[in-house]
Symmetry: C2
Subunit: 610 residues, 2 copies
């Protein structure tokens, strides 16, 4: 199977829209520097000095290497997007430090080298050795692709070579699979950067022997939560730990694409379908329970604080959907990418760039008990700090998700304003500008800056009922192929009315409730914008809803305002037969991804209807 | 503080109503014999032979003694209600066996004597030693009070004397508190049976030093889940493990009553208020989360399978409310007793008497993941089998909850049909008959069978908007004192229309939903009674609802029937902007306590309104 599309190189698309551009800017200015400081302050960097001894503070944790790797990946992107000599000096120092921690045989893991020297590969399912290796590989490839630096890449090739000498079906090798997937997609990425087929073959081994390999060296573990109680090709529903799941599926898509394994791709698409058609929040969040941070059952999507919808899982779903669109060319898959990116993925980080949600709830009420009190508000860091470090590497890559290329066709996946320099397979390149206020405005202008013959395409969103493209004043159909001249402009009008959305009735949590969306955005009502508790807000079926500019949110943000109903009860009985008092009530709703940026407050996405 | 009322002796009230009487019959005929067999088959009885050795099967568990004790308590009540020579022989054998397991110093615990001989009193907070002791004491008192048998009572007095020699503030004694409360109320009961003040004093010690005593001999525990992170008098909200909580509060009420400790009673009432006004399901269920089987926060009352509402907790709440009514004479407390007894307590056992819910959910949908698959349907037994054994001792005692006595006033707490023989404080007794179809019919006749001068009172339920008492054709006010003649009949008419109940809007799980009640009964819609999924049922505010007799439920059962709305969606999208299709739909609702007696099916108590 050949890749149908490939995503733009992260650095070739520069968003200048009201939604992503400020987030990327904050990531470079705040998120990455903050995460770097946290890695230093918590001992994660010093761990690579390998001088930790029992009794000392900051015992290297099994997942610490991954945090450093993810921040280094982000640093590489940052340096490519915005060169900075000081940052580069630190980056190079960290590369040296990481490389210095490599053992003579190629092994590289701070925890198992210092804390459990006898534990190497002893508990694949519970520990994070191969997961950390995967993130280090991604960091190494990023440094090579973004900056042309080979030192870390060479180091990680040695580590990958060593891993390849340990695991596999060949005589003398050990069979096994990682409890936390990541190595699979990382090895395919390493194969892409190096052309070394051994890495692709090892990735395919980890995918194909998962749930098959005898579970050696394991004691206490739950294979179900790790997608390993049966072979991946026999898995039909997304289950277990949601982050691990989407990392695995991304690895499956990557291996299937590179090896032409149609059956594996089909299994991957079937798992993706189980997410998008039955197990995903309207925000693109995934993981219905904090227990095991996991998927549960079809349509079980509770909105309160027992849900999970981890930030990392949403970012992982964006990445997976991008891979699957590229592989299939099915634009409907981009609806999931877009919905998740604009809502459940970006909700996890504050506009200030230094506060993070682990879980992205759809309803928060101050009466409600959170399994972890710190999860109700965005936090600067976590003991298990995967989400903050994921943003450090995810946000600089957003450009990837806006454009894809196939042959000499360019495909605008998300029409956010900005600049793109896209390379065709034949070596030519084209430069374009996207203008407009998307996602707040559906009028988009695609301006060609350098001409040439190529095909221009733009996704028609699945949520859109009216979509018109025009060129030189005349309606045109997309894709449109022509010999483009500099200045040629295609205008796309995407109708984006406010929609009152209903959940499938199998989602009993949403019964009798509706959510507001407009275009790709899901809206949330924050109690601070009401004159009464959000729990008393009821949405009439014919609610008149207007668009409004917000002065207390980033420039360009469109909020919804309208007249609804407040339903209040006299007295404070726990249960009452008295009918509630209904009065008219003004309400305001803000994009879900922007909630809790003006202080902590109660919030609801799904509003009871009247 | 003197007890204002005391509840009738269990054996002096014989229900003959359509609700309790068949349950009690099944308990004697099925539940107790079945639980006895389980105690034998699982090794719980053999454990008292003290011959378990490492490597043998059926290692005595830390809570096994309590299961045997609770079943023996039920056997004693059963023998009093319905003598049976065969059962009595087994009962006497079991008494001999339990007594034979007592150690020379009085200690009596199968687990710590055989499995962890060095563990005695070493982990009070995590283990169940004092909990088991409490249940053995209750069994011993029951055998003495119900059957006049002293052997087990004497044995447990020796154990209690030994416990008293170990724990307390006096020099040479150890301070501590049990992780699972029960010993406190049991010791007060032992005091009541023996008159020995030492037991009352020890109960008061355990209550008063709880959350105060240094936590000796403890390692890993969560004092919050065990109501021990602060002194009980400083506790204001019901928190932690719900069963433990209500057992503690019952012990507090008992100690407060017997010692005249008004401050302690006030603390107990404050905790009870936190349950009834903010932390209780409409069914009387308590415990909002399966995590720690615990209370969470005010108004956090999710209806799906993440809730708990353990059967034992509901039975404990009935017991607590009975104590608090007796202590205060506040009839509003009986609304909680009645609501819980008729709904969340009896829902936990099948009509057949041999299947049990651990958790009593308010909404079950087959799409929904249950943290323990076995909790969705009633089970014959559990590894941790507290609920089945609780029914074995709870159901035979239901008579206690129908009548209370104060001086020469008799108070009809729940007007279920049946016979009562009540003893006044002055030694006289009175015999009465209650007639009628309560809880399905609000017309109640109280017929005096033996005359005499006394005061007759009957509770006016808090849910009732019309309550009329009449005597000899004339309206009368209650309480009514007179010199009653045999055959005198007071008629009470309790208005019980169907009510559409709303939750306090702070209960976000119930927003936009309503529940149906009639009299003390909460109704549930079972999917098997609909022509479509229960999740598609919507209740219009003006729904016309009729009463109907049910041919597929026990004789006399009144179900609700009416016309509502079915809301269905074309297609199977996870989220849609298409408005749902509304059609008229017939529905039927059955008493919550009777649900899932005609096979497994989806169910909902809170119905979305339209």
């Amino acid at each position: 199977m050949q890749e149908v599309y490939r995503s733009a190189f992260f650095n070739s698309v520069k968003p200048a829209d009201p939604f992503f551009a400020p987030r990327i800017k904050k990531c470079l200015e705040v998120t990455i520097p903050t995460a770097m400081r946290q890695c230093v302050d918590t001992g994660r960097i010093d761990a690579f000095k390998l001088n930790w001894k029992p009794g000392m503070p900051n015992q290297p944790h099994v997942f610490w290497d991954s945090d450093v790797a993810k921040v280094m990946e982000g640093m590489a992107y940052s340096l490519a997007l915005k060169p900075d000599a000081g940052l580069e000096r630190v980056y190079d120092e960290w590369v040296d430090l990481v490389v210095s921690a490599q053992q003579p045989d190629g092994y590289l893991n701070t925890h198992f080298t210092t804390v459990e020297p006898d534990g190497r590969w002893k508990c694949l399912a519970m520990q994070h050795e191969l997961y950390c290796a995967g993130h280090l590989i991604e960091a190494a490839v990023a440094g090579y692709e973004a900056l042309g630096k080979r030192k870390l890449l060479d180091c990680l090739c040695r580590y990958a070579d060593y891993i390849d000498s340990v695991f596999g079906l060949e005589p003398g090798k050990r069979r096994g699979w990682p409890g936390h997937e990541e190595i699979e997609l990382a090895l395919v990425r390493l194969y892409g950067a190096t052309g070394c087929e051994r890495y692709l073959k090892l990735a395919a081994y980890f995918i194909n022997d998962r749930g098959v390999a005898p579970r050696l060296f394991e004691n206490k573990f739950d294979p179900g939560n790790k997608q390993a109680d049966r072979p991946v090709r026999e898995q039909t529903d997304a289950y277990g730990h949601a982050v691990r799941a989407v990392y695995l599926y991304t690895g499956m898509a990557d291996v299937a694409r590179e090896t032409g394994d149609g059956e594996l791709m089909k299994a991957c698409l079937r798992l993706f379908d189980s997410i998008r058609f039955r197990r995903m929040y309207i925000t693109g969040g995934i993981g219905s329970t904090f227990m095991g941070e996991a998927f549960t059952e079809d349509y079980e999507l509770p909105n309160g604080v027992s849900m999970y919808a981890e930030s990392c899982a949403a970012m992982g779903l964006v990445q997976l959907a991008d891979r699957l669109f590229n592989a299939t060319g099915d634009a409907a898959i981009l609806d999931v990418l877009e919905r998740t990116l604009y809502n459940g993925a970006l909700s996890g980080i504050s506009l200030s760039g230094d506060r993070f949600f682990y879980s992205n709830f759809l309803e928060v009420d101050d009466n409600h008990h959170c399994f972890n009190a710190g999860y109700r508000t965005r936090q600067p860091w976590f003991a298990c700090s995967c989400c903050p470090t994921s943003y450090a590497r995810f946000l600089p890559q957003i450009g990837r998700f806006l454009w894809s290329v196939r042959g000499d066709e360019i495909f605008l996946k998300i029409p956010a304003a900005g600049h793109a320099e896209l390379n065709f397979d034949d070596g030519r390149s084209v430069s374009l500008r996207v203008e407009g206020g998307y996602p707040y405005d559906g009028q988009v202008r695609i301006v060609v800056e350098t001409g040439g013959e190529f095909t221009l395409n733009c996704r028609r969103p699945g949520w859109c009922h009216g979509f018109k493209a025009s060129f030189e004043g005349r309606a045109v159909a997309l894709p449109l192929r022509r010999n483009w001249q500099a200045g040629d402009t295609v205008t796309v009008n995407i109708d984006m009315p406010v929609e009152i959305m209903h959940g499938n009735p199998r989602i009993t949590a949403d019964l009798g409730r509706a959510a507001l969306t407009r275009g790709p955005l899901v809206y949330a009502v924050e109690e601070r914008d009401l004159a009464f508790p959000v729990r008393e807000l009821r949405l009439p079926s014919g609610a008149g809803i207007q668009l409004a500019e917000a002065s207390d949110l980033p420039p360009g943000t469109v909020v919804l305002e309208g007249e609804a109903v407040r339903e209040s009860f006299a007295g404070d009985a726990l249960y009452t037969a008295a009918a509630p008092l209904r009065t008219g009530a003004h309400f305001r709703a803000v994009p879900y991804a922007l909630w809790q940026n003006r202080g902590d407050t109660n919030m609801a996405v799904w509003l009871p209807t009247v």
